[in-house]
Symmetry: C2
Subunit: 304 residues, 2 copies
């Protein structure tokens, strides 16, 4: 018997995806990116689809302010839509709770969801409430739209592309930022309107895990320059690489575009860092730098 | 402190929906029907969105064959798309499981999902796996499409409309049918192509609960003729009204259309019952028949 912990999240997902039937031709991007991307007959735009869950005891504590949990639940999915260059539209909310849950907990959760929905222009169009003999869980399914000429996949990176990251990394769980973060929706929309990142994703499991994922999707190796990683004040490189839940953007950009992007970024978002942290490398150069910390990022089945 | 059990599912949902911000104009039907219905600029069709979850210990036993659980998880949502007159397209799967879950359980779940996806033409375009310190839960988010002239809401019924139900009701949990049922996708598609039901829904919480929901959505009272309810062999009226998980179609039809529908139905689906079980009544006639059993149907927060 093999358990999920023994396999680890990435191998579990790889095996599950291997069990699925072939997609229809409408599917431009299936599992393996921040969102699924679908063609819709008659429209010029592509539809984005995302599902994401937060679970008590894993993504938030049972004692947490539920309004912050609701904000987080919706904003995690908004962050994924942003990372494709899209705009969110409609959400469906599933809440699983014990029958003896105080109403006020669900009320708080929904107030947080509603606040995030108003802030980011999302309509909550449906949902499901069900009983669970266990921890409270909230799943968000979010749709969005993106112009075909602006969509950014994880897989478009090329060797030599410079890797840029927004904000600072690390300490999100410890500082509570993971419950109050701002998805980089405006920033990503501005980026894809004015520039053409070759690949992009949002950082949820930590740069040490997500960086190699983006590189692998692009058929490249992840060339990190550890000394360039922007660490949150009070936190070191190990936390910046491994803590996860940063919800910042990681993007790959053609070398000749970097200086233009950096200049325009500083004028447009003067209060948000944009840092070069390395480059995509040819796949044969896949050895990590000898001085990189041995942190792995967050694995959903290997931490407790 | 008020608990979810004290409020009951319908009041919990009503209160949660009351907390939500206004929808965008693209939303033709928000919470309160089998699916949300959205207009999509540029397309002639309407998009349907559904989210639904199955939870170990509530919707299936921990000892159950997981392939049957996977079939059920996807087919529940397919049944909701069918009940709007639509066709399913793309699904996103969320699986929450303990880290010590044997891989074989998830494999079985996904084999069942994949089988249902192949059977009903659904592409599984994405998903999410996460840890839970509790029972296994699987959420399905499903999209679909429907012609605007064929979409059937719960709210279109009128006083005098005859209520028809497919198949037989009751005993689904006891016989195991709830894990192997066939969503009435072909039947519903045929109905909306050839006729015009004024209202329709799928029966998941039992006729005693779902019938009044359809009637209320249509601004009518639920006029049940208990002696006409088609009970599953070996089960009585109480089970037919209260067991739930039937996943049959309940529809309201203009009186002048009923005979035509019944005749064509018998020719097209000779092996599936279509039964008249009552009518929608003006709201003032809302007293239940004196001889109706006092069963309530399934409430997600009031049963254990």
């Amino acid at each position: 018997m093999t358990t999920l912990r023994q396999l680890g999240e990435d191998r579990v997902v790889e095996r599950l995806v291997g069990l699925l039937p072939r997609f229809s031709e409408a599917v431009m991007q299936g599992p393996g990116d921040d969102c699924a991307v679908l063609k819709v007959a008659g429209t010029a735009k592509l539809q984005l689809l995302k599902t994401d869950a937060v679970v008590e005891g894993v993504h938030f504590l049972g004692t947490e302010d539920m309004e912050r949990v609701g904000w987080k639940a919706l904003c995690r999915a908004v962050s994924d839509i942003a990372a494709m260059g899209g705009r969110p539209e409609s959400a469906l909310i599933t809440v699983l709770a014990r029958a003896d849950t105080p109403w006020e907990r669900l009320e708080g959760l929904y107030r947080g969801i509603a606040r995030a929905a108003s802030r980011f222009g999302v309509s909550i169009v449906g949902g499901e409430t069900g009983q669970i003999h266990g921890p409270l869980a909230c799943n968000v399914c979010l749709t969005g739209w993106v112009d075909p000429e602006r969509v950014v996949l994880r897989s478009g990176g090329r060797p030599g592309d410079v890797l840029l990251v927004t904000g600072t990394l690390g300490g999100s769980l410890h500082t509570g930022r993971h419950l109050d973060f701002q998805p980089r929706l405006e920033e990503a929309a501005w980026l894809v309107e004015h520039f053409r990142p070759s690949a992009m994703m949002d950082l949820s499991d930590g740069l040490a895990k997500d960086g190699p994922r983006l590189a692998a999707a692009s058929g490249c190796a992840f060339g990190l320059e550890p000394e360039r990683v922007p660490c949150t004040a009070g936190y070191g490189l190990e936390q910046a690489l491994g803590d996860g839940e940063d919800f910042e953007l990681l993007m790959a950009v053609a070398p000749e575009e970097v200086a233009r992007i950096e200049l325009a970024w500083r004028e447009t978002f003067p209060e948000l860092l944009l840092s070069r942290i390395g480059a995509l490398l040819p796949k044969s150069d896949s050895l990590p730098p000898a001085d990189a910390p041995k942190t792995r990022g967050y694995d959903h089945f290997q931490e407790s």
